[in-house]
Amino acid sequence: MFKSHSKKRRFINTLMNIVLLIFSASSVVILAVILISIIVKGIGSVSWNFITSYPSRNPVLAGILPSLVGSLMVVGGSMVVALPIGLATALYLQEFAKSKRWAGLIQSLIYNLAGVPSIVYGIFGAAFFVTTLKAIFVASGSSLTTGRVLLAGILTMSILILPVIVVTTQEALKTVPKNLKEASLALGATKVQTTFKITSRYAFPNILTGVILAIARVLGETAPLLMVGAAGFITFLPTNLFGSFTVLPVQIFSWITRPQAGFQATAAAGIIVLLLTQLLLSGIAIFLRAKLQKRYE
């Protein structure tokens, strides 16, 4: 009774395998094509000099140092601001919220925010952080005249990645098996003790994954940072919170729009540096995660 269909089923099975293989392969192929074309274009310009120099009108002399430092500052700063708030929010929503209805409401608001286009955050950042900072400067009589400073960039990125961190952390917390929490409480531990000693530790690797995603997101943002003041040509290191700044994607964008042909290669080189920075930062986070996972296993 069952034999007659097996030939047809096997055929469909094999066919689907091939189709899926083709689709997966094509994604890889597309990715490879993009990477290879960039590397080919830019690898010649990547050098230690490139990394340590400042931008110049001459494409050959142009360097990426300020934007590299700027990117690291923005990433670092936004993490410092967004991580504590995001983690605390996720912990509260998942573990401590008394009313499930309110928690659910806040949760869906945050989840929706995670899907808002980055440009909206840029608009908000420009309208709020930039103008507020300017007002503060004016009111305190300082010599600063504009709100388009590094701090604005950091704050804008913070609220951009906040929903991402809350969502991924909460999802990580949801994976903690209920019976571990019960075991802890049954031993007489308080909710706080259980949350910090058991739940957070168990979810930590996954929380770290969320952090990796957030880092990648911040590194790659261009438009919102443009709107709050990332400049295309900076000749000093943007380490002053109240000073001008730029980031890698903005610098790359500015090079690409230059008419001189040489800047194309420079832009490609910038992209390579951006990718390498991304890899490095992610790599550090992944390494940390692996190490911590081992300790807790």
Partner: protein, 252 residues
Amino acid sequence: MDEFVYEVSNLNLFYDQVQALKNVSMNIKKNQVTAFIGPSGCGKTSFLRILNRLSDLVEGCTINGTVKLLDEDIFSPSMDVFDLRRRVGMVFQKPNPFPMSIFENVAYGPRCHGIKDKAVLKQLVLESLKQAALYDEVKDRLNKSALELSGGQQQRLCIARALAMKPEVLLMDEPTSALDPIATAKIEELINTLKKNYTIVIVTHSMQQAARISDTTAFFLLGELIEMGPTKEFYATPSDPRSENYITGRFG
């Protein structure tokens, strides 16, 4: 009453509108094994969880009636629920060791309650592992992960973890249902030894297990306590026909 560890009167439990326990009254004797039996959904596990107030964690859970642990009402505001859970330990159906070393697992409870002295902790851990009949099997690898142990060993670790709190009562929710027969036998033997120093309450689906290891058996059905009495009498000549039907397998 010195011989009773728990005195429960007229206990009713509601999950929102649904009544899960109806007017349950019972006394649990000291240094004995009391078994709760009954079909699925009869309320025996819900009742067990009230004894250490794990029921507090369930939303929409309403309780009325009194539960006294050694003459203290466990629901009174003066009862420290964390101390209650120290005095009344619990072991669950599926062994749930923390993803930490064996030593850290057992030391977890005391640490949460403020014990920091390394020597004291070590003493507590070793003693508890010995009491749980696990020490000999793990003494060379206390720093290894608890997750590497077999199912039966993990369950004994969970028992050691509870014993480290120096409890008066041990609550066990189907502790051997996830274990093979040999591991089960080891734990039943352990329970028999532990009852000299602790009062043990065990919920079990296996009537044979209840018959083998308990001194007193309580039969629950649809949220009511139908019959409770010395195990030997209960299994030879039960009083209530519903008990008889259940233990002889004559009902669903």
